[in-house]
Subunit: 287 residues, 2 copies
Amino acid sequence: MTPMTGMTSSEPFGARLRRAMDERGPLCVGIDPHASLLAEWGLNDDVAGLERFSRTVVEAVADRVAVLKPQVAFFERFGSRGIAVLEKTVQEARAAGTLVVTDAKRGDIGSTMAGYAEAFLHKDAPLFSDALTVSPYLGYGSLSPAVALARESGAGLFVLALTSNPEGPEVQHAIRADGRTVAATMLAHLAAENAGEEPLGSFGAVVGATVGDLSSYDLAINGPLLAPGVGAQGATPADLPKVFGPALRNVVPNVSRGVLRHGPDTGALRTAAERFAEEIQVAVAGA
Amino acid sequence: MTPMTGMTSSEPFGARLRRAMDERGPLCVGIDPHASLLAEWGLNDDVAGLERFSRTVVEAVADRVAVLKPQVAFFERFGSRGIAVLEKTVQEARAAGTLVVTDAKRGDIGSTMAGYAEAFLHKDAPLFSDALTVSPYLGYGSLSPAVALARESGAGLFVLALTSNPEGPEVQHAIRADGRTVAATMLAHLAAENAGEEPLGSFGAVVGATVGDLSSYDLAINGPLLAPGVGAQGATPADLPKVFGPALRNVVPNVSRGVLRHGPDTGALRTAAERFAEEIQVAVAGA
């Protein structure tokens, strides 16, 4: 990998995402090929099943949803052969016109963080994605090599901030010396990162759609808010205005099982995705 | 992947690690094939260079150090072909008699966390390792699928707790409603996880060797403490007793660059690793 080869300037992720959300509706469909879904689709829990599943989702919806989000864990469980399927999935989805947010929740420091950034955010990398999810247990500043490479590549990040799983508050609600929570601190860093960007910054936060009352958090980070938890996990599109308030226009709701359970029929997957996209657009427009 | 195939009961990781530390000295050598080290070794920054580097480290020291710790980011930057090299590295290192702690810092929730656990902690997985590093931004409880599978496979975990990078305190020193810091909370969870285990629990913490004053932390978790930062990063073996106090006997100091910079000559790598192992043993014995 020669760092500078093929490096061209690109329109920033935030601008591309804004346009995709406006044109296609702000929906992110997860590609979560876990064992139970493979079984429901009549596929084997092996690399061939993984590949068939992922390709089916891409074929069904990549030409019409704003974002696809492959969940790396479900590929990594098959080792290098699973990662090879992920490479194809990411490349085919991008070629079909959707933005790919690779959900890897990577996080490390220094040259190691730079290694993860190169894996997913370098233009020449086989896993090059429009954006990557990252985890800030080592502090927001530890992510800076990924921020830098994302800027260079026209890519983006989604930093875990405030998640809706019951174990999350243990870390995310803890309070720093300045009186802010860890989650609020991440949001503040992202707001600074995105300052002045038009029409939307490229550095987003992961904020659960079922997290409850968000009114004490400043969600005006001028960047996208990736919101898992819509559909099978509990929140409905109609709930979004109440949960996100004035930040609603920058929310990218993620639906995984709510769409995927309609497979393997591509028509049914498409219909389910279109229904969610429409319901979300209606909810946003009416707010 | 059929979850139950090949699942056999194994001696727990903690017991195997205790024995390896006692017999070989408590040293963990990192396998960190980043671009600058590949260049120093006269290797290309490509998959062939990666493979040569990793194999050389394994050949030089896997028959004599307690633990080898491959850093996944440096393999992942080459995509699936890099992960294929990681598979070989992990398998060859284990076959040569060392314990492999795969440094991936994975972290997610529910079935996704279970996916990562299967990738690294399932006996049949191509990346099956003796232990895995994990990141708890989503709360310690979110790691439970990995704890469960590690117990089943006789493997272990190292949970990020208190790291020595300057950005770490932002999250790790934040204070929870019960008055404890996030880092202390992780240590307390691990102590509970390891309660009653003999001779050593399998659920360790990552605690930086250069983190400064640790006296306010209860490091008596009855599990191993993986301590990066020895050698090139600043701490010397002689510093360890002062830093870790009574927990010293469970500390696994990690040296990466301090050994790797002596390559590619296998004899020089071996000598460097043996010197560190001896210095650490002397420091532990004298404390």
